[in-house]
Every structure is written in C-alpha cells, then in structure tokens.
Symmetry: D3
Subunit: 157 residues, 6 copies
C-alpha cells in the first residue's frame, strides 16, 4: 500500500520552513500532496492561483510531490486522495497546543488518518507566514525566509 | 448565603466540554447561570437566540441552571445577579495564560468575585467551539463533540 | 452534605501564596484540610512536625481549617476524610501542565473526587517553596513571601 | 556612542505595564523612543493622534524619552533613528513565543539591532491593552490599569 | 531500504500511552525497536531485566517489533541498528519543549536521523510513568494506565 | 555610573549559547561578571576550578569581562560587586516561566537590581548544559555546542 501524506496549509507564502519539512519527510512517504486550503485567511497576500504556481515551479521536477488546492474539511480531502497521513511541522509550544487540538479532533472524526509531526530545524523556527507577509507588505526583503529557488508572483502579474 | 456561579462564554455552539464542566460544577454551587456574551465573535454561526434556545432545551428540567445572555462587563453581570463565583473550564496551557489575565483583571476590578476553574476531562480537551464551527461550516458531522441531547438550530429555522 | 476540600502539598514552607488560596477558598467549602504529604522532597528544610506546627499556629482559631500529614495516595486520603474536593492553586502555565496530569489521573482512579483550582493573585505568582527554601538556606530574608503571622521553626528547635 | 532604544507598540492605550517597563529601562539607555505603530489594529479605540498626545503629556518633562508614530518595518525605524536596541516587555509564556519569533526575524534582517527584554512586574502581568479596551468599551473603570497621571482622550475630543 | 524506527525511553513502566504510540506508528515503519535506556532514572521501580521481560511478553507475537536495552547516546544506538528514524510521543507543551531540544541536538550530531512525533490520544495524555510509579509505590491500582495484556513483575520475582 | 551586569549560572559547561549572550550583551554594559554559582548541581561534570579556568582562558584578553565563582544569594553577590543588572538568556517558554519567578523574587528582595533578558539565537536554542553533559558522559562529541576556542578540562587534569 502506498504511503501518501497530505501537507495542508495556507502557504501564503510557502517558506523555507515549509520546504525543509517537505524535504525531510520525503523519505518517509511515497507521495506528499501539498494542499493549499482555500478558506482560512481574511486578507491573503497571494491568490490561490499564485500560491499554486509558486509551489508547482519549485517542485516541478519531483514526481513524489503533488500540489493541490482544496475546500472543505482536511480529513475529507485526505480520504478522497487515499492519504492515510497528515504531515505537520511543529515550531513552538504555542503551535503544539493548536496542532494537538486539530489532530485529536481529526482523529476522532476519522481514526484511519494519522497526523505525523516533524520539528522545524532551529534556524527556521521563527519563520512563519504571518511575519513574512508583514515584511513583504512593508516592502522589506523576505528572501532569507523563502525557498532559494522560489519566484514570488506579485499581484500585478 | 446562596453560592451562585456564572459560567460565561460565547457558546457558539455549546459543546460536550461545556456540558461536562457544568455537570461537574453543579455539586459545588446552589445555582449556575450559563451566561452567553453578546459581544465577542465577529462572524457567529448561531444567533444569540438560537444559542439560548439550544442550551435552554438541554437544561429545561434542571432548576439549578439558568440560561441568560448579557452585554457589558462580565463582573457587572455577576454583581447584578448576586453571583460571587465565575466558573471557567481550563483545557490547555494556552487557555490558562488567557484565563489568568482575565481572572486577575476581574479580581482587581471587583475582589468580591472569585474565579473557580475545573479542568476539562481529557477526551474533551481538544474540543473547542472554533474547531466545531469550522466542521459545521464545511458540512462535517460535529455530533461527537456536542451534547447528546442538544438539537442544533441552523439559520433557516 | 458537607463540602470538604483537601489542600495537599509539601508546604516546605507554607507561603503567602498558599495562605491566599486557603483564604479565598474558605467561602466555597465547609471545611478545608491542609494535608502535608510525607513523601515528596528529598532534602526538606523543615521536618513534617515543624511544618504541622507552623501551619497549626497560623490557623489555630479557625474551626473550618484542619491540618494533617499523610502518606500514600492523595485520593485515598480524600476518601478516608469524606472529602469530595481537592483544592489546588495555579501559578504558571508550567504548573498547569503538571496539575492537569495529576488531576486527570486522580479523576480516572476516583471520579467522585473533583479538583478545584484557584489562581494565585499576581503578586504571589513568583512565590514558590523551592525558591523560598533557597533563600532561607543562603541566610536570606524570606519574610516578604511568608504569612505575616507565621513563625518559622528552624532545625535547632 | 549613544545607547538609543526603541520601545515599539500599538499602545491603544498605553498602560501601567508599559509605563513600568519604560521607567525601569531608563537607566540602561541614553534615550528611549516610544514608537506607536500605525498599522496593526483593526478597530483601534484611540486614534494615533490621541495616543501620541496622551503619552507625550505623560513624559513631557523627561528629556530622555521621545514619542513618535511610524509606518513600515520596525527595524527600518530603528535604523533611521540610529537605535541599536529594541525594548520589549515580557508578560507571559505566550508573549514570549511571539516575541521570540519577531526578535529572531528582526535579527536575521539586521543583526546590528538587539532586542532587550524586561519582565513586567507581577502586579502588571495580567494588564494588556486588549483587556483594557474591552473594559473601556463597556464603560468600565480602567483607571487601576492606566498610568496615574495619564489623561484619557475620548473620541469626542 | 527498510524503514527502521527506534522508540527510546526508560519505560518504567511501559504504559498504555506508549502502547498506543507503537500501535499507531506500526503502519509507517518496517520495524520498530523499543529501546530501554539504561541510564536515566535515579530510583527505578522495575529493573531493566523486568522491563525487557514485560515489554517482550507484550509483543512476543509481533515480528515488526524488537525490544532492546542500551547504554550510550541514542543516536549511536540508531546508527548501529541502521535506524533512520527516532519515534517519540508528544503529550503536553512541556514535553514538546524538552523533546524539541533533544531532537534538534540529535539532528546536529547526526543529520541522517529524523525524529518523527505522534501525539498521544487525549485519554492517555495525563498518563506518564512518573505518576504511575507513584501510584504503584503507594500500593494503588495502576491497571487503568497499563497495557491490558501486560503483566507487572515486582521486585520479589 | 558604571553599568555592571552579573551573568550568573552553573556553566557546567559554558556553551556556545552562553558565549553568544555575553557577546551580544557587551555593548550594553561597561562590565560583565560571569558568576559561577557553587551550589546548584548534584553531580557536576566539571569542578568549579575547571569551569573557572575554561571560561577565564576564553576571555583572558577581554577587559570588560570578569569571571568569578560565588556562594549565597545571587542578589547579594550583585550588591557586593555594585552590579545593578542581572543578565540572563532566554531559550524556551519553559525557561521563561522559571526565569520570571526568579527575577520577580529577586526584584522583591532588592528592587535596585534589574534583570535584563536577551534571546538565544535560533541555532543555539536547543543547546543546554544538561544535554551537553549527557553527550560528554557518553563519550559523544559535544564540540558543535561549545565555544570554538574553549578547551575542555577533564577530571584527570
């Protein structure tokens, strides 16, 4: 049986921290689906289409990685894609509390789906998309926090 | 003197975790007022009227439990209802930090009112109204997290 | 039915923070038993007898407060003294995690016993017995952290 | 070289906790710039102008303290004002996680700027601007949490 | 390449929480080595031999699970057993901080070894070996917290 | 007035994290006294003499840094050395809770002494002396976590 993991998030934008989690999780799974949730953010910086495109370009030559967007419950998306695993990165203790609640509720709703956590490496611990959006909105240089090969698409493109 | 406790919250919706706290606190108090705050949520799922109705039906045969909605400061509501106790459930360490700030400010404003905390039982720890609203909005089945006897009123009713 | 609470601890020594919790919990219960556990500390500063004596003198004129020492499981002590409530003070998020584990295990072993938490008031939050023992061992003045009326018994007495 | 620190925040309103941090940090620096960020809050209680005026009146006779408002990245503001230090108060563990992320990202973007933390004193730990705004919006008395000499300007003025 | 995970711990004793982590991790790996560290505890309740025997009996019919004891660094044990994965259960935010430090140091010493975390299910969150040892030492009934099929070996055996 | 800071700790051993805090704090103070507490650890790896020697060699050419050992209360040591500041590094939220208690008690005992916190940089966050002692005791290579120029003295020397 194939080991398929879904790596869900808003990825607005996808960061070096996200890239690092995907890279390290690859040996553990046969396929990783990076799943961009359509719902969460009130005022996104990048459109879903831009996010899809940026991440697709990053992984276009990796056959084990799929990029998709989705609506609805994450566990329904997993089930529809025959994924038994949810992949999540843990950065801080605050993250942990939140992730635990989500994972435990997911498990109660569908106990066939297991959430697997990797820790972010220390140098990426402070990197989160909210702070990066703040930097980009103020015209700062966010490149130290973004994947080296990722091209940012701004709203004009 | 009667021991009256106010159990304040947004209860959007009232969960199995809330029900469990009320049940376990009953022996400690002569009366518990479940007090639905009118203010907090930006985009509630249930109206105040729906929430009142759902909780009232749940406890209609329990004379020690009152259901009310309120505006304004919680400590003013307590004073107006001769309640010396605020009842709160604690789920996580993150909860704790937030609850501590509120309780300590309340106490500074009115040191006659004591906040009493019970811990949620482990199986209800991940259950919070935010996650449940998210499930309901995506058409998921939230019944494992809601009181067995509670009937949900949706917006059309 | 009488509402009896057990307030368990090592109380080496009993602090202003402990005194404050007892004081604020008094209206909620008919009797509070301050229960000094005989086990925990490897190198106590005060003997059990000294601790008993110090706390007894503090509350000798309060008929609602009993002081006892005990061995064995706290929930067995509660059951033997017909106490349905365990009283605990919460200071920090770290406290909370520990107290939650203990309370949930206790509840699993005896679901008739409920743990009730009060928060320490802000000025007593940093006060814990470990730090006070450290001050006393180095000959410092710990009186700002101890009950005003409590007399310390040192080892020579 | 002058030791200049920027104390950034929304200060909506400036609290006794903020005042306490500034007071205690003064001996450490040659100048402290209280910098009111123009961005963050969705529904501020006081306008930037009101906040500037309230804090300026509080410190009008202290030559070591400057009050300014700013837009853009905090580290750019620091650089423009030759400030090598960011001053922040820490209240809770939740604060800490957030502050750590911000400070570490700032340092990565400009390693010439050091963030220096002081702890709030225990009695001010629960005081945060969000709770105070809530009190003020409900017509409560927030004066125990505000600097003794600070005059509140409401929207009509 | 075989996916081998080491599940290290003191397991004094092995709990229902440990059993649950192993059970849920099995589909993810080809082999799990439960590795009992010989060092950590000052006053163990069960000897290494007893712990080995108790866990071996529990899993004697599962060919994917090995039980071993070890001394020295955990990452050296992993390398010697061709294990690329360390398996750990996360219970609380306090756990998380500790586990993160260990995992990040391990990774710095050997970046070929990845630590994979699963969350304990809510009902096992409060169960830790320290509390269970305390129950057993006081003659309490710890069976609700231990694997159903596990036989306890006491010191006399 | 000279700005003197005491950086207290057990430093068993002094790590890259400690070195980083001292380095970054230097511009803020006129003198930093690295103060090795004689009390805390039950089973130290290095003797006080070895620790003094290792740190002295590291900073022998820096006139702003003093190395001393001390017994007794840290605030008494500060007062005796005319130090108005205590310098501490913060790594994790767990650290924070502990440091806050100590700092607030210190301040209550002597409000002339201010504790100043710097955050460890992300790559040093997981580095703590306990983990390093564990590595060294098991014959592992701890050099990635120790100051590049520091020479370890083992017990035979």
């Amino acid at each position: 049986m194939n080991k398929i993991a879904v790596f869900p998030g808003t990825f607005d934008p996808f960061t070096k921290g996200h890239e690092n989690i995907v890279q390290r999780a690859l040996p553990l799974f046969d396929k990783i689906i990076i799943a961009i949730g359509k719902h969460s953010l009130k005022t996104p910086l990048f459109t879903i289409t831009q996010r899809l495109r940026m991440i697709e370009e990053l992984y276009h030559d990796n056959r084990k990685i799929d990029i998709q967007s989705y609506e609805g419950l994450t566990i329904d998306f997993c089930r529809d894609h025959h994924a038994r695993y949810l992949l999540r990165g843990l950065r801080t203790a605050a993250d942990f509390e939140y992730e635990r609640a989500i994972a435990q509720v997911n498990r109660k709703m569908n106990d066939q789906i297991e959430t697997v956590f990797l820790l972010t490496t220390p140098e990426f611990t402070p990197v989160n998309s909210t702070i990066i959006r703040d930097i980009l909105r103020h015209g700062g240089d966010a490149s130290p926090f973004l994947p080296d090969k990722m091209k940012l698409y701004d709203d004009e493109q």
